[in-house]
Symmetry: C2
Amino acid sequence: MDIPIVENVLKLNDEVAQINRAKIRDAGVFCIDMIGSPGCGKTALLETTLKHLAGQLRIGVLVGDLTTTRDAQRIAQWCSDVVQINTGKGCHLDANQVRQGLEQIDLANLDILVIENVGNLICPVGFDLGQNVKVGVFSIAEGDDKAAKHPYIVQEAELLLLNKMDLKPYVSFDLRQFREDIDRINSDVQLMEISATEGWIADWVQWLSRQVVSKVS
Amino acid sequence: MDIPIVENVLKLNDEVAQINRAKIRDAGVFCIDMIGSPGCGKTALLETTLKHLAGQLRIGVLVGDLTTTRDAQRIAQWCSDVVQINTGKGCHLDANQVRQGLEQIDLANLDILVIENVGNLICPVGFDLGQNVKVGVFSIAEGDDKAAKHPYIVQEAELLLLNKMDLKPYVSFDLRQFREDIDRINSDVQLMEISATEGWIADWVQWLSRQVVSKVS
């Protein structure tokens, strides 16, 4: 009897994810599920992105965290459409939590919705939330073996960001090895080197803008 | 019908953890469950610790990772008692995996057993493995909000390590805020500032040595 119950949980999640996906698509919004370890810089990246694109793209954010509203408070300085989802001890967002979050946001006002998942490089990967794409975020401070050791996010992501490039002079990190590991696991995924705190996000911002244009056209 | 099944999984885990605990205790070994995010420096810390304590304390290591044997290979350079446990898509070690790992290690040869858990600050916290204590590892590159945002590891740990202190000049990190958050969540837990790569581990090494002495006496 155990196995059907586990299957049902995932099946239910996928069904709700499809409801979310239809709602997001009908609103003409491009939706990103952003996944990375605690402290890889997801919130800092969103802050910098929101500042940079203010007046150009309308971005909403659903923020997942075990507890606290710190991330949402940081993001709310730059964004009026932000919802914090606290998961308690839950290690990932699920589609139903996102469905509830979507009820708090007016999608008609948005071009892009970013779901900042709970800081966890493993569990969020397996849950469809209704996003268009998953984006994986690594930090150069985490070491060059993280793609090889966490292949599932590399397989599932459309785009990978290597953040905190400003720390490169101070850490040991073999960029060629990191890129080789990624190519071996998923030769289709793109990798961008960025620094959220330094504002080195030109490639990422261009990529975001392209997604919106290609949705409109 | 769902809830009893989940309870049974945790109950089974706890029963196997007690078997592990008895086996470890009978061998006179002190056992640490080391928990931290991907890239917080758990493996680097073990490498430096093993080098530093070679000939003084006999340390064995069980290493949990989704995939690859990279961590075990790094540790094996400094330690003959190392076992890699690959969890596949599993986000944490469970007591039965540790039970199987213990079959590969001669506890009679050891003073200390470190279980390096899968890189994940959330899921491993809830699973008893049979350890004496849980030790939480943070990296200063992850930001000063990580204790507040991940309170469960702070609650459960006997000791917290703040690693990568060599990066302090290059990152924004409010040490007072970090300490205040920890004190608020668990006023009993000790925090040590270390750098595994720079060898700043004197407090940690002393702490390890004290655990062995107190077990013997």
